[in-house]
């Protein structure tokens, strides 16, 4: 395939991945990697390198808006970034030594898990119980504005949330994705944060987490300009359009259709991984 044709196909696919990723909340990385590996036969190491770059672009772009609105809890974000960056570097180093087939299998499993998570009804776990010692010490409790009203919230189970973030960071570094689904579990279910705060703070953390593993990938030669260029431009454009559409569209049905497609892709990746062993 010529460079021009390859670039055009990847650009188009990455646009679609960014658009769907932002509409469903799954993120562009989990879609562009199967697309590159299954449809174009790109080695998963290159696909991961390109994807992690697009994660930095989209998360920094949207974090900019959320931070200005004051929803993001910068202290929680930075505190947990210690866990995610350590995890990300460990994950990226492991990825270097791991056979591409194993990575594909793990990727498929995480993909199915993420698809299920987007379909699950979210339950509000927020609390005003300010007794957590860690939360007090690190001053993690806060408030966020919603329609002009300030909502207070308290943070619970800080060590458990921290551990979960270590795991989320490792997967992010291993697979080149934002692993937003895991981050949101750690913050919603374990630390009891409100959705708005957890999703925006998770997004805020993604950039630094991805940067930590991207640097390892860069040194390893996994970031190829010929793939990374169309992937990050396409995903960022798609995600930007998606966030504009999101305000108007109803995404419930789209999420179901999309979860089915993603599960199908995941099974293909697992199958490909197993048959290659």
């Amino acid at each position: 395939m010529s460079v021009l044709l390859f670039t055009i196909i990847v650009l188009f696919g990455a646009f679609l991945a960014g658009l769907l990723g932002s509409l469903t909340g799954l993120g562009g990385g989990v879609i562009i990697i199967p697309l590159l590996t299954l449809a174009l036969g790109v080695d998963i190491h290159y696909a991961i390198g390109a994807s992690i770059v697009s994660v930095i672009a989209t998360s920094s772009g949207s974090a900019a808006a959320y931070v200005k609105e004051g929803i993001t809890n910068i202290r929680i974000g930075m505190f947990l970034e210690i866990a995610t960056t350590v995890g990300a570097i460990c994950g990226a180093i492991v990825a270097v030594y791991l056979n591409a087939n194993y990575i594909a299998i793990i990727f498929g499993c995480i993909l199915i898990f993420s698809a299920i998570m987007t379909l699950k009804k979210k339950v509000d776990h927020t609390t005003l119980d300010h007794t957590d010692k860690w939360a007090k010490f690190f001053r993690l409790n806060g408030s966020y504005p919603d329609k002009g009203v300030d909502h207070q919230y308290a943070v619970k189970h800080v060590p458990a949330g921290f551990l979960m973030m270590l795991f989320a960071g490792t997967l992010s570094g291993l697979l080149g994705i934002g692993s937003g689904a895991l981050k949101v579990i750690a913050m919603d279910n374990i630390m009891r944060l409100p959705f708005k705060v957890s999703t925006t703070t998770s997004n805020f953390m993604m950039g630094v987490t991805a940067a930590a593993s991207a640097i390892v990938y860069l040194h390893r030669g996994q970031i190829d300009p010929g793939i990374a260029m169309p992937v990050c431009i396409g995903v960022l454009t798609g995600a930007t359009v998606g966030s504009k559409v999101l305000l108007k569209a109803k995404t419930d049905k789209l999420k179901i259709v999309f979860a089915i497609v993603v599960t199908f892709l995941a099974i293909q990746m697992i199958y490909k991984g197993i048959s290659g062993l």
Partner: protein, 130 residues
Amino acid sequence: MSAVNKNINDKDIQVILGTLLRAGVIISMTIVLIGGIIFLIHNKGVITDYKVFKPELAKFSSIAAIFKGLLTFHGDAIVQFGILMLIFTPVARIIFAIFSFLIERDYLYVLIGLIILAIITISLNGGLAH
């Protein structure tokens, strides 16, 4: 009074942080786009092969190599430079956060910021990848 002051400070920091992130993304993606166009003009007919991961063929796999490549004005070097700037956008955000917490006299979070920066510096050590 001090609580009010702190709120204003936090709000200012949020606005500057947001602007920094947006500017970083826009600038680096513009560089990637320009490099990409130059790359396509020169290489459009070349046949791609990404079927097998060949790290030894990677031309720009260190910061030094990217800067050296940049002097040649090759499209792929410019793309890689843009990507490098994109990677350093969140890192710049951490550095800014450290300074803003220093102004707020929140030394615990100055320390946390420094820890994150140290972790990222460790990853800059290319030896980790080999």
